[in-house]
Amino acid sequence: FKAKKVDESLMIDKLEELLISADLGVKFTLQVLNDLRKDIKERKIKESREIKDFLKEKISGMLTKKNAEILCRNDSPHTVMVVGVNGSGKTTTIGKLAYQYSCEDKKVLLAAGDTFRAAAIKQLQIWAERTCSDFISHQDGADPSAVVFDSMKAAKARGKDILIIDTAGRLHTNTNLMEQLKKIKRVICKEMEDGPHEILLIMDATTGQNGLSQAKMFHEALHLTGIVLTKLDSTSKGGIVVQIIDELKVPVKYIGIGEGLEDLKVFNPEEFANALF
């Protein structure tokens, strides 16, 4: 009766602030809370103290997308293409991935596909050294597609298990640079029929609603296989991925929680959903 209703609406107001502040987005949040009100009416939730847990489960469910099966083609090195906007953490994430693979005794080759930004090649080279990974680069200003082509030949010839390709940061709104990425993917597809095993979008957890636009454009251009959400060690909750996964069905594979080699964890939907609250 009346008191419970007031209690409920206060709680929902608090939840609205909480979810929007976690970067879930206003329209998405209003939709989630509208569904919640329906569920409460249909007595799916009996006590207001169950509300938070109900929401956590619902969101965790949204985040659990069946992982696109990684095509297992044993004839070629597992090839990972890493993309994303400027400063999102691509190069550092590659270092972390290389470290993980090296701990599994896999032979890793890193390709310096960012031939544009100052000291980008050097930065990746240092990560290669730190992780005992092999390294392929051309000179500054070289055609990134040429570096990628070379690296695929080398990965095969040198019997590597994993090839990870770094690319230059770029804004999803820059048509020329998005075309450059498509060209890199085509070069990979020429060498391996089904293209790279993985195309990972690296996204900064501090990003707001623009993250959805980024994911859409990168997905449209390349057909992403996964997302890595970096800088979750900051205070941002990274809620934008809820919309991204809900709309694009691209799973979050890993999260970055620091600047060191070991600061990469496999994405856990329940933990992530709980942390939003």
Binding site: V26, T173, G208, Q209, N210, K231, T235, S236, E259
Partner: protein, 292 residues
Amino acid sequence: NLSDRLEPILKKLKGRGKLNEENIRESLREIRIALLEADVNFKIVKGFIARIADKAVGSEVMESLTPGHQVVKIVHEELIHLLGSESSQITFSRQPPTIILMVGLQGSGKTTSAAKLAKKLKDEGEKPFLVPADVYRPAAIEQLNILGEKLDAEVFATNEQKDPVKICRNACAEAIEKGLNPIIIDTAGRLHVDEKLMKELKNIKVEIEPHEILLVADAMTGQEAVNIAQSFDNSLGIDGIILTKMDGDARGGAALSIREITGKPIKFIGVGEKLEALEAFHPDRLASRILG
């Protein structure tokens, strides 16, 4: 965009008379959604909408506008007022050299912006001195050196010195010796909640007493922009803001949050990766962009 969304609402509000709570309620709701979608902070939007309602209610609807359009006009003006005045200035100290310290989160664009600022000042006849005080990120010092070389601007040689405070102190001494001005110091990206690294910045500040501490912030930053800016301002005192990656399609609401919470001016915007891509800040343009 907002105008499209307000169209059907505005069509319903015919005629003149005063604006009242009733006829502006729907417009305010749409505007609230627009600001939140633009990444303006939740609490700041709340206060902003309340102020708009205060200003709007009771005001006479102007001859040429419908009540809805009137509300948008009030919002637009209030946004411009909040975002501050046009600017593109570094305040030079009467006692050279002027010391500028670039700070901010990881990947926000500090190193690139430091070089862009050096280029702008060099073009204006100054002799900027770039100081690479990021000793953590692989090849960070190299990065600034390459950019300095491109500009033909002097870059301090750290000579394997690993202490950022000592780097800054020695660089300032060298700048005075060589008559270089201003000194632009690039620091490592850091989280506002990293006590050790925030303390490092405080130590640098105590050591060299910078004239301008510039927070370099990414235009696509979400709701946490307020907490981030507040932490940096509380720890160090920010003198100005550089908003980077404005060449994308991020609405940039973080700028309003940062400006509201620190009260400090947005001095420049980054509009690309090239060293020329640093522009003056125009509040009216950002206001339109935030409204969408």
